[in-house]
């Protein structure tokens, strides 16, 4: 069954992912797809140790794109985490097709506009979101399974082109 969740969340592995989504979907593997983390041996080790009982793969965008189709056929559930829409878009451009991205946490930073309590976007984010939508991906805003899922376009009408 493999891919159970593709999530855009600037905290990568953290409580909502491990406890809330993890309890619901029981992943055997979590792919942390991030060029910065993949380039730092210390950060790779930090994330590999962060989820006891779950196999954590830390990969660059290029490595994850190359492994994406094969992972889809692997037994049990897998999660894929990226920290921002831009990384999601680059993964998509590199050949990984993702039907649905869970938009789980893009926190405030200067210059970003509020979409809801846990999603803030700037123009670069909106560009990446538009590209993902044009590429056929759905973008669904939902921090935890107990929250109501909502399309990002419904919350951020500026995305509609």
């Amino acid at each position: 069954m493999s891919w159970a969740l593709h999530r855009i969340d600037d905290r990568l592995i953290h409580g909502q992912v491990l406890v809330a989504w993890g309890s619901r979907l029981d992943p055997a593997r979590i792919w942390v797809v991030d060029d910065g983390v993949a380039a730092s041996s210390w950060e790779r080790d930090l994330f590999r140790d962060a989820a006891p009982g779950i196999e954590v793969h830390v990969a660059s965008v290029a490595e994850a794109a190359a492994a994406h189709a094969e992972e889809a056929g692997a037994p049990r559930a897998a999660f894929l985490l990226v920290r921002d829409l831009d990384t999601a878009q680059r993964l998509s451009e590199s050949g990984a097709h993702v039907e649905e991205w869970n938009v789980g946490g893009l926190h405030y930073a200067p210059g970003k506009e509020k979409v809801n309590d846990y999603v803030y976007l700037d123009e670069r984010d909106r560009e990446a979101a538009r590209a993902l939508l044009l590429g056929g991906s759905r973008l669904i805003v939902q921090d935890v399974p107990a929250s109501r899922p909502q399309p990002l376009v419904a919350l951020a009408p500026a995305l509609a082109t």
Binding site: D10, R11, L12, I13, H14, G15, L18, V19, W42, E43, L46, F47, A50, A51, P52, R83, G105, L106, H107, Y108, A109, D117, Y118
Partner: protein
Amino acid sequence: MSAPRAPEGSSPTPDPSTGRLPRRVPALIVTHADLAQALVRAAERVVGTIEDVTLLSNEGLSRDDLQDAIEACVKDWSEGGLLLTDFWGGSCHTCGASAARRHGEIVIVTGVNLPLLLDYLYNRDRLGAPELAERLQQKGRDSIRVQRGVPA
């Protein structure tokens, strides 16, 4: 009111110029929502006013901002200290690990609970950060026990 005293016989002498005890191990409690504040309020009900404990919530913060906020709290800890966080693998823990890496002898203890926090307060003036962290890990674990109801 001052911070709780260490157990009798183990209290070092306060520095006369600052009135402070030498080598007190500082602590930063980093948690979800306002758990850190609530834990300290609860601990104060037991031991009175608590000093030299810093509190931080991850509420609304990205990884980078949470890491920066933790670094700002620990940057002046010249001789190390403890980060107490709510659970292993959470953002408070992983961002704390990234921040702590750049600041000397900082040790992280996850799974902070009230007995663990109280034990920290009573031992922070007599143990160094690594020994204190080991002790708190054990105290926190030992405090979790099951009492089964017995029918009358």
